[in-house]
């Protein structure tokens, strides 16, 4: 070893464990949070740590998980999508609209084949995603405002189609994937797991995934490197809309009905899962792995609060506080990283 190498090793040792933890806070903090929550609820409630309840948690987070896959792409690019829940709702209602309902449900009653209804629902959410993409990239509306408008537009489409009623019938395939089980495992859990895996593979091992991280990490640099930044941003908006639409269809089957404002709570849940998991709000850091941890943190929290004796109105406040803490950690993790590299 030369003198300089020894110097280097020593200086690394001096920075030591503190620096290591700081630079990886984004991954460590959510994981520790999850372990603490599990430990707490296991002690507080004997019914929490049962196989059945683990299955419950998995099923409960599945719809959020499908939305969160697309949202992870968007947030990695340092954009935001506020229209996920509304697009989910619209896609769910479209698929019901084109399915023959009971006689007392007076909507479309367009008896299309199941495949065609599903295709139309996918077409609807893709189209809404493309409108988001065009607004963001070609016109230059900030994604926050663009998707806020889209949230209203998608709700409007839902309202016009469903007209305040409740539809129960969906195509068989959607019903199976949303509410059916195979060998005791709900299909919707399998679908969510497959989509999370797919999202992870795309983000980690494909050229498009690399572009997503690079555009999120330094958009200007990506542009000066000759990356088609607008194409990448447009693509993530469409991916998010398609994931939301898919979640909406399965969600309708999962809940057993399609109606207005059915998915409202999923707007916050989706964003919270991604951010609580540690994906950076400033883009370029994080991934599906973080999102999975975030999903479990939310899932365990929501489920655990049902198992302990607590004012049900307090639960809403607790969720808000957890999200706030996650945001604080998210911002600090970014700052620590910045100081670690400079």
């Amino acid at each position: 070893m030369t003198a300089s190498q020894i110097n280097l090793v020593q200086s690394r040792g001096r920075q030591g464990a503190g620096a290591w933890i700081k630079s990886r806070m984004r991954n460590i903090a959510p994981f520790v949070t999850l372990l603490l929550l599990i430990a707490f609820f296991s002690l507080a409630s004997p019914s929490f740590t049962t196989i059945d309840n683990v299955g419950n948690i998995l099923t409960q987070v599945s719809v959020t998980a499908i939305i969160a896959v697309g949202l992870t792409f968007v947030i990695l690019c340092a954009e935001i999508d506020l229209s996920t829940a509304s697009i989910a709702n619209a896609a769910g209602i479209v698929v019901a609209y084109f399915t023959l309902q009971e006689s007392y449900v007076n909507i479309g009653n367009v008896p299309l084949s199941g495949g065609l209804a599903i295709a139309l629902a996918f077409l609807t959410c893709s189209f809404l995603g493309i409108v988001n993409a065009v607004g963001l990239t070609l016109i230059g509306i900030p994604s926050f405002i663009m998707t806020l408008a889209m949230m209203q537009i998608a709700s409007g489409i839902s309202a016009l189609l469903i007209r305040g009623q409740i539809a129960y019938k969906v195509p068989d395939l959607v019903a199976t994937l949303g509410a059916g089980t195979i060998g005791g495992i709900p299909w919707i859990v399998i679908v969510a797991a497959v989509l999370l895996l797919l999202g992870h593979l795309v983000l980690t091992y494909t050229r498009f995934g690399r572009y997503v991280y690079m555009v999120g990490g330094n958009r200007e640099a990506a542009e000066y490197s000759g990356v088609n930044v607008k194409l990448v941003l447009g693509a993530v908006m469409v991916i998010s809309a398609i994931c939301s639409g898919f979640a909406g269809m399965l969600g309708v089957a999962h809940f057993g009905s399609a109606q207005q404002n059915e998915f409202d709570s999923y707007l916050l849940d989706g964003i919270a899962a991604v951010v609580v998991g540690g994906t950076s709000l400033f883009g370029g850091r994080g991934g599906i792995g973080n999102t999975i941890i975030g999903l479990f943190v939310l899932g365990v929290l929501n489920n655990g609060l049902d198992h302990i004796n607590i004012d049900s109105f307090l639960k809403i406040l607790i969720r808000g506080l957890i999200l706030l803490v996650a945001l604080v950690i998210n911002v600090y993790a970014q700052r620590f990283r910045a100081t670690a590299v400079e």
Binding site: Y205, T206, M214, E223
Partner: protein, 284 residues
């Protein structure tokens, strides 16, 4: 005084001459370096070379107007002007970052209209902006920085990190980037080495035209000389190079031919003659 992350000298400031500082910074043998930038420079450009990028009547608002220029294969064209004289927006236009309002741009005779930087890159135009921050990914390793511009040549769909590292290693060796690790985070490199990485991005599959904005600004003397050497080598290999700068020394140390811009227009051209910093300043 620090070099490569180590203290190499300490002493009272009044005992230090400029030459001694330079010697400590880059080692002995570079004392003549400053001279070559401030003395007379003999320009030599062969007009028989093949034009690669041609521009006619290019104009953009108040930034620049009526720009006509061509850069040939195997020459370095310097564009000099004071800050705000239009040479920086012009360079961005050639790379598709800005869109011109008027005029024609041709690459190897083919008229091109770049809607974005990706189109310019695919047409063979490369650009290194004056601000390293705006073209490098500080939180990513060196190899991801060098591969980003050529990713589709390495892989269609699935990434090939081993190939990316191999290409980066080759560039790190060739350009003597320190530290010589392709997995080092870019933010941990010195400014000069970062600038070399910025150049390395474009070198594996060389473009047809390389546009450099302020290629040596803010660099230590040794790294400056390295960059000059790299650019000369690229020119000798047949690349067309455009160097844009607000510092006369930068243009003089690199160019075979010099255009001077003033208030958005090209006001004079120096070819096959002897120029000095004073003549450039007088023209601007």
């Amino acid at each position: 005084m620090f070099r490569n992350g180590r203290k190499i000298m300490a002493g009272p400031a009044r005992d230090c001459s400029k030459a001694a500082l330079i010697e400590h910074m880059i080692g002995a043998g570079h004392e003549g370096l400053e001279e070559s930038y401030t003395g007379d420079v003999r320009l030599a450009s062969d007009s028989g070379l093949r034009p690669v990028l041609t521009v006619e009547g290019l104009g953009l608002g108040r930034a620049y107007r009526d720009i006509a220029l061509e850069v040939r294969s195997g020459e370095v064209l310097g564009i000099y002007g004071f800050m705000g004289c239009g040479q920086l927006p012009l360079a961005r236009t050639l790379f598709g970052k800005l869109r011109p309002e008027r005029g024609i741009l041709r690459v190897e005779g083919k008229p091109r209209s770049f809607r974005n930087t990706a189109m310019a890159r695919l047409a063979g135009v490369a650009f290194v902006p004056e601000n390293r921050r705006s073209m490098l990914f500080h939180h990513e390793p060196v190899y991801k920085n060098t591969s980003i511009s050529i990713l589709e040549r390495i892989s269609r769909l699935w990434l090939k990190p081993a190939a990316e590292r191999g290409i980066a290693r080759q560039q790190v060796d060739q350009l003597q980037i320190r530290p010589p690790r392709v997995d080092a985070l870019l933010g941990s490199l010195s400014g000069g080495n970062q600038q070399k990485v910025a150049l390395a991005k474009w070198l594996t599959f060389p473009p047809k035209v390389l546009i450099l904005s302020e290629p040596t600004r803010g660099m230590d003397v040794g790294a400056k000389e390295d960059v000059v050497r790299i650019i000369r080598r690229l020119r000798d290999e047949g690349l067309a190079v455009i160097v844009v700068s607000t510092e006369p020394e930068t243009v003089l140390s690199l160019s075979d031919r010099i255009l001077v811009m003033k208030k958005g227009e090209i006001v004079s051209e120096f070819t096959n003659e002897t120029v000095s910093k004073d003549r450039l300043l007088a023209a601007a």
